[in-house]
């Protein structure tokens, strides 16, 4: 294994571990259990579940894998704060969305070579990337992996 193959596989393993932890946290919870807040007055589990799906869906164009699958998730789970009054999808619907988005991401990841991970993400112009070569696809993957951990730490308080 070359160093860049090893590094890519290590980063993808870290992502997969975080995804697996998130699935253990959310899937299997009832609609009622998902309505619990992580702490009094804070986001509900269902909001964080939808939030992660929305953020990961946005990785598809950002990494150059494809179009958004579910941009309609942005309003309730990104742009708006959680509200106990908000209508939310069922646990079964969220599970289906989760599986669809992560399946599409994984299919894209499977096509990337190690060098592809060091290429710019689509929010960077070529000129900007020339001055900041660390704004690459790998940086997006690591950032989103940390973002999962950030919210799982909150979910662990329930």
């Amino acid at each position: 294994m070359t160093p860049e193959q090893s590094m890519t596989a290590t980063a993808l393993q870290s992502w997969a571990l975080s995804i697996s932890r998130a699935e253990k946290t959310f899937s299997g919870l009832s609609d009622e259990a998902l309505r619990r807040p992580v702490a009094p007055g804070k986001n509900r589990l269902v909001y964080l579940y939808g939030h992660l799906i929305a953020v990961h869906d946005a990785m598809l164009p950002l990494l150059g894998i494809g179009e958004r699958l579910h941009p309609e998730l942005d309003a309730p789970f990104l742009k708006e704060a959680d509200s106990a009054a908000a209508d939310v999808p069922s646990a079964a619907t969220l599970k289906a969305l989760w599986d669809e988005v992560h399946g599409a991401l994984q299919a894209g990841f499977d096509r990337f070579s190690p060098t592809d991970w060091t290429q710019r993400h689509t929010a960077m112009s070529d000129a900007d990337f020339a001055t900041n070569p660390l704004r690459n696809r790998l940086a997006v993957l690591l950032s989103r992996t940390g973002h999962i951990a950030y919210h799982l730490g909150q979910c662990a308080l329930v």
Copy 2:
């Protein structure tokens, strides 16, 4: 920049960003502010502060950088759960410990070549590493970067 240089720098940037966020979270807080729990009945900020220092101190031998600097932190911040009754170091002491441990880590990181990051960490035998080459130093770095995010997510609830 070679792919492995780019990947190493990207991972180190991700670590540095998490460390910087943790410093913004903890440093500057008074002894009293550090005694607030992240949620009712949960860990206090001071416990998470010391916990991160202890976990990062343990990275020194794990990555083959050097001996532990402060193994005495393990009892109060790793082995034992937080307790409001527990005596804790002052904010100033924790800040000094934080700076010392992260200075030592950074000095070690500065000496590593990209290939060094793909070598086994010291909790792996050569034989085990041969069958699982992803148990490398980079995996430790990514895991600990995620661990910071996990607890910062909790701190953000205060």
